[in-house]
């Protein structure tokens, strides 16, 4: 019966979302609501890059 199938589908999707929510609470995802909006703007700086002023300094010495 297709109605039953749809109900099972929607319930299992919902349960999956609920389990994901429980996991996120447990792993501390809600402890720093301020942080992500700033971290989003940060560049990924690994591996370590040389900053431009340090390079200028070295060039000046050469």
């Amino acid at each position: 019966m297709s109605l039953g199938l749809l109900i099972v589908c929607s319930l299992s999707l919902g349960v999956a979302a609920w389990l994901f929510f429980l996991w996120s609470v447990r792993s501390g995802q809600y402890e720093d609501p301020e942080g992500p909006k700033y971290r989003m703007l940060e560049e990924d700086d690994e591996p370590r890059r040389e900053d431009p002023t340090a390079r200028q300094e070295r060039d000046a010495k050469l």
């Binding site: 109605l3 039953g4 109900i7 929607s10 319930l11 919902g14 979302a17 609920w18 929510f21 429980l22 609470v25 809600y30 402890e31 720093d32 609501p33 301020e34 942080g35 700033y38 940060e42 700086d45 370590r48 890059r49 040389e50 900053d51 002023t53 340090a54 200028q56 300094e57 000046a60």
Partner: protein, 817 residues
Amino acid sequence: MAEPVPAPPGTAPLACDHCLAPVDAREAVRDALGGGPRVFCCAGCRGAYRLIHDEGLARYYAERRWTEPGPAAPAALELGAFEAAVREAGGEAELTLTVEGIRCASCVWLVERLLARTPGVREARVNYATHRARVRFDPARAELRTILERLRTAGYAPRPWSDSARRAAARAEVKDLLVRFGTAAFLVSQLMIYQSALYAGYFQGIDAGARRLMEWISLGLTLPVFLYSGAPFLRATARALRGGALGMDALVVAGSGAALAMSAWGMLRGGEVYFDTAAMIPTLVLAGRLLEAAARGRASDVVARLAALQPAEACRLVAGADGARARERVPVGALAPGDRIEIVPGERLPADGVVVEGRSEVDEALVTGEPAPVEKGPGSPVVGGTVNRFGALVVEVVRVGEATVLAGIVRAVEEAQARKPRVQTFADRVVAFFVPALLALAAATAAGWLATGASAERALLVGISVVVIACPCALGLATPIAVLVATGRAGARGILLRGGDVLERAARVTDAVLDKTGTLTRGRPAVAEIVPLDAARTPAELLALAAAAEGRSEHALGAAVREAARALPGPRGEAEEFQAVPGRGVVARVGGAAVLVGNRALLAAHAVALPAEAEASAAEREARGDTVVFVARAGRPEGLLVLSDPLRPEAGAAVAALRALGLAPRVLSGDAARTTAAVARRLDLPHGAEATPVAKRDEVARLQAGGRRVLFAGDGLNDAPALTLADVGVAIGRGPDVTLESADAVLVRDDLGLLPELVRGARRATAVIRQNVFWAFFYNAVAIPLAVAGWLHPIVAAAAMAASSLFVVGNSMRLRS
């Protein structure tokens, strides 16, 4: 390695390249770093700048957004206190600490990178809101000291993270509420699908089998919301039933339970089902509770951060085997009477005692309210919590732990807490009246239907339907969402609030009692007047001379003289043979002549006689409560400098604004009567002086007994009991632990103008809360006649629910502007 660069001529305004504090060109530390000449206010800032450049993190300077300049002034590291903060797990160590000195998002970025680039550190995360850092490192490759020293070099002060039992419980409560609310939200979202299908079926017709199936699924989804997510309401209602007073929890259980019972009856007897109402009521009220708990938790976290400034360790002197003295760092709790401890300048005293060695001046402003530092020498009693300003002291401990003056103040705070009545919030008061009224109306309806000949079953059903429709689920949101918006806005302005009841109490205060030192005044002395004795000398010359002699003084008065001289043009004289005489002043050689700057005792010791006119004008100023410093050059008195603790520039406007709001302001100080009177006169305020911490609390209690509602603003330990007992206690700036913890609101920004703003904001928020509560009931109340008449449709229940909730949220958002 860069060499120090000589100072260029000119005295253009300079700012430290690291901390942005204004730097006097004559005092600047200069260096060539990062590809150009740099200016720093101190060697510490230069070290921080160098470290940040060497690590390739110079981008920090371009991206930071500081609202206040100034160095973070890292204190001495108390390594022992951190050892308890390290947890070992699977060959890795995890350190939890609070980083003081973080001012913007870029600081968090910098601290994380600095930590992550320490060899041996695996991961470092800093919480933006609480400034708590978690560092995971390999104990074999990284030492605790190295990690902490790097932070300190960059200008941040690491502190051990301490989590009080109360805060830990509050955090656990937020987490519990979050899981209950999240679960309820998931179930309700699923429930809405089936409920929508049933609504559609109500209008268009639906296959009986499909309807039955959806009703069963709806029941299955609603029961966990009622039993699990609603468990806190069920428990609280059970308690309230035993206690006899029904509140918000009872309303939730009554409304949700009645809707559930009606739906179950509907399934059995072929009526309509109201599962969405049954599930929505506890869900929305939980959302409100969660918002409120989170807002309260955030305020507590920030206060915890401010409060982590107390010394955790003391330096105990022990006799070594060879009779020499050795120093050991011990936790403050390990001190016992009879121990000798050393306190270096800038440190807080860890316990009460008597000075045995050394001379210094101790800043007791936080404890007694007296702004001028108090001279201490062998035999002087000292009080724990005060700050040693000047020279190293050796103190014999007399009282520790519960016996100290500080502990006595803490006890007074606890007593005041016990005495302070818990004020019911507006929503609570409404509900306390509404629940019995609702139940009476439901009973009357059922009785009316019975009397007009309906069956018992039909009468009961109509009675229950009255409860279902009258119960506004938006009521749970009415207060918390307004509180959330209002506290968020206050927080952005620099006012931390601890919950919605503070707003309601702040809106109703009638009297404002203000502490003097640090609240109405700056809390530190400044040069108020310069009186040359020789007509040939200008006041500027006299000030320049005194400032030159005080050039290296660490004394508060010396710093005030230098601060005043900073505005003078021209080069400053250099002092030679500088010598500080504790309790008297300074002696130095400026331009070849011996210069004395200090009190009468200093002049007398150097056989300098004061002319009678100078003595008279000094006595007159001292009678006003000001401090007079004498300046003499080459054995001749040159003039007087008058120093006083100045009023804050915004004090007059703030007091006027409080009056305009209809409040009666007054001054209550622990300071001497004459200085308090001088301040009170300038602001035209009634005043009380020389009040002990308990006397301040009693004054608040006396006003309250007269029916007044009191706002108390203060910053010292001596204010803590009064802050607690007052209807609204406002702590200003960075007070000590007890003060901040005992306040209902904390002004993070050092601005007295925030006080009237707090009251104004609270009045607006309270008005919105009242509107919210009214409108939460309004739509439901309109539908009550339909329920009484027995015409309750599920669509009416759903519409009333949605309309009231939307209105409450929208109305609260107005507080953002």
